[in-house]
């Protein structure tokens, strides 16, 4: 009898501990109003350049520029820092595995927009459980006349000891082995998917054999905010199907645009097994034997 009561109590305690995470996860793309209301419960990470942060930011936000989260490595443009470096970066912000984090960036360019989701993916890779991003970026915060601070925040560093979630990152060998098994998503523009166009740093045109096209450009409104989630989910279902347990691998040219659809599929629409190939076509196309098709 006592044992049963203990079990129930432990179960209830576990449920209580999970509640904040669940409530936080319901808002993976948060509004400026939400952030104002919940500011005391989150750490805001501003990924804009230091000088932009210094000229005004969400009060209390800590600043770690995008270029710290994604580095150039081994000839690839957007790679993860080494695990120990990533731990140092997170430690310096005071973020812990259970911290609620909201990533804020600028939406000035397409690359800026997806930098926000790329940092969210990186934090998730490092094992931070509760991540959200600010819809419309800092520009929306300003447009909505929310409070702005110029006081640079010096966060209290804490050693970050989260368990890395390495399953959400895959390499070329993994992608090659997944052709015909997983759903591979190319989230570039249709002209790049078809091979009609390619970026200079990409060795060969075309998409990875069997990949479906789900362009990033379809995600955002003109003001940089996300389109209605129902519309985006319908778009996702059309491309990748409704089986939420199916393995999905998202890639783009160099690994940052891929994070946008990864974020929506994995975090917002609850697909359970979504991965990013961060070397993307920049890496894949270097191998002349890796199958690309028009």
């Amino acid at each position: 009898m006592i044992k049963t009561k203990m079990k129930i109590m432990v179960g209830l305690l576990a449920l209580l501990l999970l509640l904040p995470a669940a409530a936080f996860a319901a808002d993976t793309v948060v509004s400026t109003d939400w952030l104002v209301a919940n500011q005391s419960k989150v750490i805001v990470v501003d990924i804009r350049k230091v000088e932009d942060y210094n000229s005004g930011h969400v009060p209390g936000a800590v600043n770690v520029f995008y270029g710290v989260w994604a580095i150039q490595k081994a000839g690839l443009l957007n790679e993860l820092p080494a695990d120990d470096d990533l731990r140092d970066i997170i430690s310096a912000t005071g973020i812990e595995p259970a911290t609620n984090v909201v990533v804020v960036g600028t939406i000035a360019t397409w690359a800026d927009k997806v930098n926000i989701t790329r940092v969210a993916w990186t934090l998730k890779y490092a094992g931070v459980a509760n991540i959200a991003i600010l819809d419309g970026g800092f520009e929306k915060w300003v447009a909505d006349k929310k409070p702005i601070s110029k006081d640079a925040v010096k966060p209290k560093a804490k050693p970050y000891r989260g368990a890395f979630n390495k399953a959400i990152l895959v390499n070329k060998a993994y992608v090659l082995a997944s052709i015909g098994k997983a759903t591979i998503v190319d989230d570039r523009e249709p002209d790049f998917y078809s091979g009609a166009k390619k970026l200079e740093f990409v060795a060969r045109p075309g998409h990875i054999k069997g990949a479906v096209n789900l362009p990033v450009y379809a995600i955002y409104n003109a003001d940089g905010t996300f389109k209605p989630m129902a519309e985006l989910e319908a778009m996702a279902k059309k491309a990748v199907g409704e089986d939420k347990s199916r393995e999905i691998i998202v890639y783009c040219d160099s690994g940052r645009f891929a994070s946008a659809w990864w974020y929506l599929l994995s975090e917002t629409f609850s697909y359970k097994n979504v991965k990013v190939y961060d070397g993307s076509v920049q890496d894949f196309a270097k191998d002349p034997s890796a199958p690309l098709e028009p």
């Binding site: 230091v50 942060y53 470096d85 140092d88 310096a92």
Partner: protein, 307 residues
């Protein structure tokens, strides 16, 4: 309308007398450092031509007025972002001032936008003037010939005192290399911008590179070297052949602003001592370059630590 009103330092000096007086002699205002280095490649006659035809008409145009840092972003190649904060005077805004003149190499390397690794100090929110003080920027009243002569330039050890490392391995590594390698030699994150073939025909070309070698200014020290794009006929259009071209190397020791705690060299001693990665060699040395460059080739001692 006066084009650059604060070019007349007496104007600002009416209120800021002391700063105007020191600034007048500072390298930011005189830009004399650019001249004094390159003329070592020239004969006396050539120097005279250089001063008249090149320095005054070209190099000197880069000098910064008070307004270039406190009112309007400096104009580089005719491009400026305009007023820094409407028409208000600003104390400092490095992203719109320092970053413009030093935006070809230093600043984008510092932010990671060139080379792909942000400097750890930028990561921590530090801007230029956290290390480079107002006194350094405005000058201390002495007319230095070259920036290397300035005594109070920032040093890594100003903040990172040797002997206070938390890890024994770091302490040992610093102790072992303190007289033989600069901080940059091990802590520069990787490739930085190098310009080639300046003024040669269609102008210079830039590409990323990483070079380690003996410092031309301290032959006991290995450091990061940056290519100086001056080639034998850089000033040919002005009638200058550079009679003493070989007096100077084509690489200068350079404090690369892309510092990281861990790099491939701090992670593994073999990177330098076995693989000799990044070190200048006869094969990688610039072709048809100064003979002085040969002095910069360094052969590291083999200590196969990882084996």
């Amino acid at each position: 309308m006066v084009k650059r009103p604060s070019d007349d330092l007496a104007l600002c000096g009416e209120c800021h007398q002391e700063i105007a007086a020191t600034y007048k002699k500072s390298l930011h205002y005189t830009t004399i450092g650019q001249r004094n280095r390159v003329v070592k490649r020239m004969s006396k006659e050539e120097t005279k031509i250089f001063d008249e035809k090149v320095f005054e008409k070209s190099c000197r145009s880069c000098h910064a007025t008070c307004g270039d840092c406190h009112v309007k972003s400096p104009s580089i190649g005719g491009v400026s972002v305009g007023l820094i904060s409407k028409h208000k005077f600003v104390r400092r805004d490095e992203g719109k001032t320092c970053a413009f003149c030093h935006g070809g190499r230093v600043y984008p390397e510092y932010t990671g936008e060139y080379g792909g690794n942000a400097d750890v100090h930028y990561q921590k929110g530090m801007m230029c003037m956290e290390c480079h003080t107002a006194d350094e920027v405005h000058g201390d009243g002495k007319a230095y010939a070259l920036k290397e002569e300035v005594r109070d330039r920032p040093r890594c050890t100003d903040c990172h005192e040797p002997g206070r490392e938390t890890k024994l391995t770091a302490q040992v590594a610093h102790l072992k290399h303190s007289q033989t390698a600069s901080c940059f030699a091990c802590h520069s994150a990787g490739e930085y911008r190098n310009c080639y073939d300046c003024h040669l025909g269609g102008g210079s070309q830039a590409k990323p590179g990483f070079f380690l070698g003996t410092s031309p200014r301290n032959h006991k020290e290995i450091t990061t070297l940056r290519i100086i794009p001056t080639v034998r006929d850089s000033f040919k259009p002005a009638g200058i052949q550079q009679a003493n071209f070989d007096a100077l190397p084509n690489y200068w020791d350079s404090p690369i602003h892309n510092i990281r705690k861990r790099t491939e060299r701090t992670r593994n001693c073999d990177t330098c001592h076995e693989e000799r990665k990044g070190f200048l060699t006869m094969e990688t040395l610039l072709k048809n370059s100064s003979r002085t460059n040969l002095e910069l080739i360094h052969k590291t001692k083999s200590i196969p630590v990882s084996k």
